[in-house]
């Protein structure tokens, strides 16, 4: 149940559409691009939202992702499917955004699903943990948010980032260790 792959199962575009996107005439290409955009915009948006956790930024980055897709269409390989390719480009666009964003600004409004709060973890600890998480290097943040918070399979996360599963495990471990160290420096011992 996750984003782009899910959309593909619901309504996979035919090979003709993908071929038109890859090598069609300019008119066919623009039509194919619009069809792919309309079919996948929500899935790409959801994927980016999971990473950046800011709806307005996720909308902008969805457009940015498709703009990159539009520019790079000649490199698209129809035999490998559109979803994985789009997801990888979306992940890179989100990564670029995280790199340029100030970490100390306000947290965005809560866009996440309601949770059953653990009474042992106070609101202040949650807030400090969220802020400490935003101070992590972006590549560790992406691995941790997708693999730990969103609980996506590590293989899927590895494919989106273009690295191995072992590298994802290492990034998650390093993210958790840095987070623990940051919280410990604030007197919080999870």
């Amino acid at each position: 149940m996750n984003g782009i792959a899910e959309t593909a199962e619901d309504g996979r575009e035919g090979p003709k559409e993908l071929l038109a996107f890859r090598q069609g005439s300019p008119e066919n290409f623009e039509d194919a691009f619009e069809t792919l955009f309309r079919k996948h915009q929500r899935a790409v948006y959801c994927w980016i939202l999971r990473i950046v956790r800011d709806p307005a930024a996720a909308e902008d980055l969805t457009v940015e992702t498709f703009w990159r897709i539009h520019r790079a269409h000649a490199r698209f390989d129809p035999s490998r499917g559109f979803e994985g390719w789009a997801r990888r480009i979306a992940t890179h666009a989100a990564f670029d955004w995280l790199r340029t964003r100030r970490t100390e600004c306000e947290l965005p409004a809560d866009i996440s699903a309601p949770i059953i709060a653990d009474p042992a973890i106070t609101e202040e600890i949650r807030r400090k943990t969220a802020l400490a998480f935003r101070r992590l290097p972006p590549k560790l943040r992406i691995a941790a948010v997708l693999a730990v918070v969103e609980e996506l399979p590590q293989k899927e996360v590895a494919e989106a980032l273009g690295i191995s599963v072992a590298a994802i495990k290492l990034r998650v471990f390093r993210a958790l260790r840095l987070l623990r160290k940051d919280l410990a420096s604030q007197g919080i011992r999870p």
């Binding site: 955009f37 929500r42 959801c46 999971r50 956790r53 969805t62 699903a113 943990t129 987070l179």
Partner: protein, 74 residues
């Protein structure tokens, strides 16, 4: 950090940043924004991007051992 510590950190992180999930609805059609983006002329990279690139290449050429470190942080 042992496995118990990792599990505690994971639980804390899940409490601090609850999952978004893949079911979020897009509130508006982004196609008009996409058309506006496609109509924009591509921006030329600013001069300081080129200066940074030249500096990085020079640094890597002078100190080849620094290349893995640079790649790690890029």
């Amino acid at each position: 950090m042992n496995e118990n510590d990792q599990d505690r950190m994971k639980k804390l992180l899940q409490q601090a940043l609850p999952r978004v999930g893949g079911e979020t609805e897009l509130e508006r059609d982004l196609w008009p924004a996409m058309l506006r983006r496609l109509d924009q002329r591509p921006e030329a990279p600013p001069w300081f991007d080129w200066a940074l690139l030249v500096g990085l290449v020079g640094f890597a050429a002078a100190l080849p051992a620094s290349v893995p470190v640079l790649l790690y942080y890029l």
